[in-house]
């Protein structure tokens, strides 16, 4: 062979370029402009998926009873530790009331019995965690659309915010209280329900008793557990750190359809 297999200059060049590229990534991750650029992809995911999801409102796949996971992982808070919640749980949530307020014409307050007397939907769906795992469970509850129609949304209501009983950071000022938000496209989807039962049993505490959100076309962190209050708002900039949810305030995408 007439040519060198590997010149020293070439090898050093290739190695150096690789090393520089990798160590630069951390610095880029911290750079505000670059961060905003990366975050721009969320808009592409949201609008790209909405282009398809909005027009036909497809349903998330529903499974058979035999598909239900034997071990459904309970993630995040598995037992809210506030005194108020403990008292509610002790009485099987008979004193618990769900408040629906904000930009609604008729704010309402509903007990668990009230909710169970309303029209219900049961669905066996797959729960997709942002961490990568999934589990299949059966959920029964009131369609969120029914609740919002009862409370009558005002025309300027754009988002539905769910306020929860659990404080994942055990903060004293309530800044760690879990909350989530979805827009009206997902709020009025037929599979979006406020679930009070899982696999035919009252919703267990690790899975969000007495009431949790199911929004089947998004990831698990959107599906707020221990819901105490449903609030209709025009925007969520003044809630929490302004990103629309507990995990969103800590870097996750608001749109979790991907």
């Amino acid at each position: 062979m007439t040519r060198d297999l590997l010149t020293r200059r070439a090898a050093l060049g290739a190695l150096g370029a690789g090393g520089l590229a990798l160590s630069g990534c951390d610095q880029l991750s911290q750079n505000q402009t670059f961060k905003r650029m990366l975050e721009g992809a969320e808009k592409l995911s949201l609008h790209g998926q909405r282009l398809v999801l909005n027009s036909s409102q497809p349903m998330a796949r529903e499974y058979q009873a035999s598909d239900i996971s034997r071990d459904f992982k309970a993630n995040g808070t598995t037992k809210p530790d506030s005194e108020d919640y403990r008292r509610l749980a002790m009485n099987q949530f008979s004193d618990w009331q769900l408040k629906i307020d904000g930009l609604v014409k008729k704010p309402i307050s509903l007990s668990l019995a009230d909710l169970k007397a309303m029209p219900s939907r049961t669905q066996i769906t797959r729960h997709d965690c942002v961490e990568g795992w999934s589990a299949i469970g059966q959920w029964s509850g009131v369609p969120l659309s029914h609740l919002l129609e009862s409370a009558e949304l005002m025309p300027n209501a754009k988002y539905i915010v769910f306020r929860c009983a659990d404080d994942l950071e055990q903060s004293r000022d309530g800044s760690g209280l879990y909350y989530e938000s979805i827009d009206l496209v997902d709020a009025f989807h037929p599979q979006t329900i406020m679930a009070y039962a899982m696999n035919g049993q009252p919703l267990p505490v690790p899975h969000g008793a007495p009431l949790r959100l199911r929004v089947e076309r998004q990831l698990g962190y959107k599906m707020a557990k221990y819901v105490m209050r449903i609030e209709a708002v025009e925007d969520f900039a003044k809630i929490g750190f302004g990103k629309g949810g507990y995990w969103e305030d800590r870097g996750y995408e608001w749109y979790a359809g991907i």
Binding site: T2, A10, A41, R61, H127, Q218, Y252
Partner: protein
């Protein structure tokens, strides 16, 4: 909530307490009651500051190097979009400009001489002169497999992990056999693509780094004068 147990987490959780750390350092793993030696790279490894870390992947292979599922996802989806849109443009160009047909589809002659090409590769013998301007048959087959099999599989299996996409295209779940097997296939195809890139880069370095890089970026490829032939014709 339906969210993560720890503040930031990527990959699978590893309970460090269950791993024996001591005489054998961090190089032991336990499974099904058996203790075996692991590489000390995957699962448990020493991080940048020398502390034992229970992440699935070592810091030098992840972006960012520290553990942040949120930031990792931002990087992932930004470049996934860039890749998908760029790939789409490439496919359209490749078909319209007949690039695939002209340069990548192996000819019957190519396929008949595949044995020769394999031998040449094993001996690190690279084509010279005019032949260096064309892709050889192994290159052609590899590029075709990457462009038309690996990359589409990676994109489709990735999309199958999206609950939004699954509701619009439930057939994806049937193709891949569910979200978890799609996840496995996504991981395998991504690994194969990394392998392809590594082998590809090694070949680039071996066959003349600067000339090849320039030709990849600008299309200008310099054919080196054949020294042996030149010598022969001198006298």
């Amino acid at each position: 909530m339906g969210h993560c147990g720890r503040r930031y987490r990527s990959g699978r959780a590893v309970d460090l307490r269950r791993r024996p750390v001591g005489r054998f350092g961090d190089r032991l793993g336990q499974n099904c009651g058996l203790t075996f030696n692991t590489t000390g790279v995957l699962g448990v490894f020493r991080d940048r500051d020398g502390f034992l870390s229970g992440r699935a992947f070592p810091w030098w292979i992840t972006i960012p190097s520290y553990q942040s599922l949120a930031e990792g996802r931002r990087w992932h989806f930004f470049f996934a979009w860039l890749f998908a849109l760029n790939g789409l443009a490439y496919l359209i160009y490749g078909f319209l400009a007949r690039h695939f047909k002209r340069d990548l589809a192996p000819t019957r002659f190519d396929l008949r001489n595949i044995g020769r090409s394999i031998l040449d590769h094993l001996r690190f013998k690279h084509p010279r002169g005019e032949a260096a301007k064309r892709y050889n048959v192994l290159q052609k087959l590899t590029y075709m497999a990457v462009i038309f099999v690996l990359l589409p599989l990676m994109i489709l299996s990735g999309l199958t992990m999206s609950p939004g996409v699954d509701s619009a295209a439930p057939w994806l779940l049937d193709i891949f056999g569910g979200r978890q097997s799609a996840r496995t296939i996504h991981f395998i195809t991504a690994t194969l693509i990394v392998l392809f890139v590594i082998v590809h880069l090694i070949e680039v370095v071996l066959s003349g780094f600067f000339n090849e890089m320039r030709s990849i970026l600008t299309g200008w490829f310099a054919v080196r004068p054949e020294k042996t032939d030149a010598k022969r014709s001198e006298p």
